[in-house]
């Protein structure tokens, strides 16, 4: 286990724990307005202070983590569910028109600035968490397709795949039974990284008002609300910002650590 992996996993589980906890317990009702207590800096009662409506920031951060995690998780799920089969298929027919079509399609999606298209989609179909998920998810597809194809291509050259072919298994069965388990590590690492990118993207979309809509709490929208008040209540911006940074940093460190840990070649090199 590397240091990165331990720190990353600790930070990430902290966030996941907060999200899970928020279903059963938050210090205060996250939606309860309490104007007399508004804009309090962090204190023993309100650990992260209160916002301009006197809502407890700690509770809002806890509940907001659900939005971030849900959006990013589903977006990664979309990317994997579509990208991995595409990558596997392309690899079985290397150089064929199908492979060419899939790879050129990938290039095309890569060429689009993802945020711009996310903005287009949410502009046309309306702002909301679902559309944000779709917009972020679409851009995960080529990432997973490309990484799966690359890894699968080198696996197809290996003897154990040849053995499977000799034993009469078809390309589809080999892909699922032998290729997929061997690219799983890679997919987990990439999934972690895409997860963190998804959290950043969700925060950005929510910040400009195209992500989760009120009353669903979201870190990005908390930052948008904070913008006009940052000069006299900096904690309004510092706290949701730190929540995003801790989550993304944790996931990235975990991704790096997992890569080192799961890749035996690197392990040998280190020892």
């Amino acid at each position: 286990m590397t240091r990165n992996l331990i720190i990353g996993a600790a930070l990430s589980s902290l966030v996941v724990l907060a999200a899970v906890m928020s279903f059963v317990w938050t210090p205060f009702d996250y939606a309860a307005l309490n104007i007399p207590d508004k804009l309090q800096p962090p204190n023993p009662t309100h650990w992260f202070g209160t916002d301009h409506f006197g809502r407890d920031m700690f509770s809002m951060i806890m509940v907001g983590s659900r939005t971030s995690i849900a959006v990013a998780l589903v977006a990664v799920g979309i990317g994997m569910a579509a990208g991995v089969p595409l990558g596997l298929t392309a690899a079985t027919r290397k150089g064929s028109w199908l492979d060419e079509l899939i790879m050129r399609g990938n290039d095309l999606v890569f060429a689009f600035p993802s945020l711009v298209i996310a903005i287009l989609i949410t502009a046309v179909f309306g702002a909301g968490a679902i559309n944000a998920i779709i917009a972020i998810g679409i851009f995960n597809i080529p990432v997973f397709a490309r990484i799966t194809r690359g890894a699968a291509l080198s696996l197809w050259e290996r003897e154990f795949i040849l053995a499977a072919r000799v034993s009469g298994k078809g390309a589809a069965r080999i892909s699922v039974e032998h290729i997929l388990p061997n690219v799983a590590n890679l997919l987990i690492v990439q999934g972690t990284i895409q997860f963190s990118l998804g959290i950043l993207a969700e925060a950005g979309l929510s910040y400009v008002g195209l992500g989760a809509q009120p009353p669903t709490p979201s870190w990005g929208r908390m930052l948008a609300d904070a913008q006009t008040m940052v000069s006299f209540a900096p904690h309004l911006a510092l706290i949701p910002g730190s929540a995003i940074i801790v989550t993304v940093l944790g996931l990235n460190l975990m991704g790096d650590g997992l890569r080192d840990w799961l890749d035996p070649r690197l392990r040998v090199a280190r020892s």
Partner: protein, 315 residues
């Protein structure tokens, strides 16, 4: 080289054609009719029909697509539904904010990332490397719009070195213009610089293990001389790719950053158009951004082929 360029040019054309089709279709399937939206719920059917005709909405979809594309090729991006002014003119004014901002940020990012990456690679495994790499991890994790808010808090509100938002306009001189774009450019550049520094470092480390680097050392060059004369040039290829890709992140990122600083750029134009459901503006600006990204990537592709002759024969 000519064959390679032609091949690239062909795939550029296809990309642009598909991109325009996708964008057009997405906007087409948008719920709601712009004409009835503009006129409100109480509009008479014949008024709506007249406006539809005026906006060119009464012809078939393929016709509309072709006239949209033909218009763009001639620099005519259509007419804004809400402002009734040509989109091209609105875009032109805004481009003078967004484009310099993206270029400014790209310059800053490169200026930060190159020394940082080279420094980290030359101190591999030592404290300096660990500190630089740790900072880049943090830099990647920081959302740029949040960093922008913190910059405003520190440098505009507390220290008063910069204004908190708005753009003075280039007519007040180049320095005044650059000054008001400085905080947004720093905010945009930070995550990109972090990524670029990491790429620079790992690319240099790969090169340092190459045989020709050992030869360079063997013929008597110091580590530093070998790095500068032979290492850097070879390490630049992956770095160039990333710089090309970053251009698209910077353009897209500037859309959000413009919101933080109230800059009158393309981003604000898009958001105003979204809230007014002025879809022709959204459609044209998005197409323009995608066009810019595809063309920049095309230029980067050609640039490698010039830098690295080996690539001309591949694919």
């Amino acid at each position: 080289m000519l064959r390679y360029s032609l091949k690239r040019l062909f795939s550029l054309m296809i990309s642009l054609a598909v991109a325009s089709l996708v964008i057009f279709s997405v906007v087409e399937i948008a719920p709601g009719d712009p004409a009835s939206y503009m006129l409100g719920v109480n509009a008479q059917p014949d008024t709506v029909a007249a406006l539809r005709a005026e906006l060119g909405l009464d012809v078939s979809r393929p016709e509309r697509y072709l006239s949209w594309v033909a218009g763009m090729l001639q620099g005519d991006f259509g007419t804004s539904y809400t402002y009734r002014t040509p989109v091209a003119e609105m875009v032109k004014d805004r481009l003078w904010v967004s484009l310099p901002l993206a270029l400014y940020a790209l310059t800053l990012s490169t200026l930060i990332a190159f020394p940082a990456g080279i420094f980290a690679a030359s101190r591999r495994g030592k404290t300096g490397d660990v500190v630089v790499m740790g900072s880049t991890q943090l830099g990647i994790a920081i959302p740029n719009f949040w960093f922008a808010m913190i910059l405003v808090l520190i440098f505009a509100i507390n220290l008063r070195w910069f204004s908190a938002g708005g753009f003075v306009g280039w007519e007040n001189g180049i320095w005044a213009g650059l000054h008001s774009l400085t905080l947004p450019a720093i905010a945009l550049a930070l995550p990109q610089a972090s990524i670029l520094a990491r790429v620079m470092r790992s690319s240099l480390l790969d090169i340092l293990g190459e045989d020709f680097m050992r030869t360079a050392r063997a013929k008597g060059l110091t580590r530093k001389q070998a790095l500068w004369r032979h290492g850097l040039r070879n390490a630049l290829i992956p770095v160039l790719t990333i710089i090309g890709l970053q251009f698209s992140f910077l353009l897209a990122g500037s859309i959000i950053i413009e919101q933080v600083f109230y800059l009158p750029g393309l981003g604000r134009l898009v958001f105003q158009a979204i809230s007014a459901r002025d879809l022709i503006v959204v459609e044209s600006v998005v197409m323009l951004l995608v066009f810019a990204v595809i063309v920049v990537n095309f230029v980067v592709d050609l640039a490698y082929a010039v830098v690295d002759p080996r690539l001309r024969t591949r694919t």
